[in-house]
């Protein structure tokens, strides 16, 4: 099967709506079909990968841990909008330390998250075959 470049645009915070968890499920499906998958977190989507989420008080499943599994599915291109972070008073330190093991480099653990400007993100988007927005 031909491999296509898929980008998933995440624009909503988790829990308030189902967009975040639905996106994550579709991302994992695409990975199962061994496609080239990348994720972008823009606008309130940046809250999806904020460290320290605790859902005990709202009776919903805390699916933030699932983002840690993405590396095992060869999903290691997670782009975060620098502008969206800044608008919300967030920095790279507020995000989960998501990593993957690089098979081409003796399985060295490397960061999956890359903070990019909207201009850089625009270039990355234009390089995709498919962009799906959530």
């Amino acid at each position: 099967m031909a491999t296509k470049k898929f980008m998933y645009l995440n624009r909503k915070a988790s829990y308030g709506t189902a967009y975040a968890i639905e996106s994550l499920e579709v991302v994992l499906i695409a990975a199962a079909f061994e496609q080239d998958v990348s994720l972008a977190f823009i606008d309130d989507g940046v809250y999806q990968i904020v460290e320290g989420q605790n859902t005990d008080g709202i009776g919903m499943k805390n699916f933030s841990k699932t983002y840690h599994a993405l590396g095992d599915y060869d999903i290691n291109k997670l782009y975060v909008s620098a502008e969206s972070l800044e608008e919300r008073g967030l920095t790279a330190d507020d995000l989960m330390p998501l990593v993957y093991e690089d098979e081409d480099d003796d399985w060295e653990e490397k960061p999956s998250v890359k903070i990019v400007s909207n201009a850089e993100l625009s270039k990355i988007m234009s390089d995709q075959d498919v962009c799906l927005s959530f």
Partner: protein, 98 residues
Amino acid sequence: MLHTVNKSSFERNSLQSCLNTIDDTSVILLIEDGVISAAKNANSPMLADIAAQGRVYALQGDVDARGISSKVADNIKLVDYAGFVDLVVEHGTAVSWV
């Protein structure tokens, strides 16, 4: 009156509409994605003014779920569900800004 806001102010104008019409005695409770506006850098000057008067609350469970507990503005008060009920009882008519 009690005004609840459940949308992020980055995404919808629910909070702004609430702020535009609120009087001097009403209180605001931020819930669900509305708690995003409780974060220090994410709230409006107008919300900050009302918070300074002790009239802004945020639901603790929703704040914790989004991992922003350490970022909530100092004068925004956190309440649990029981506190939510107390606010409803105390302030009478509730308006949901959805």
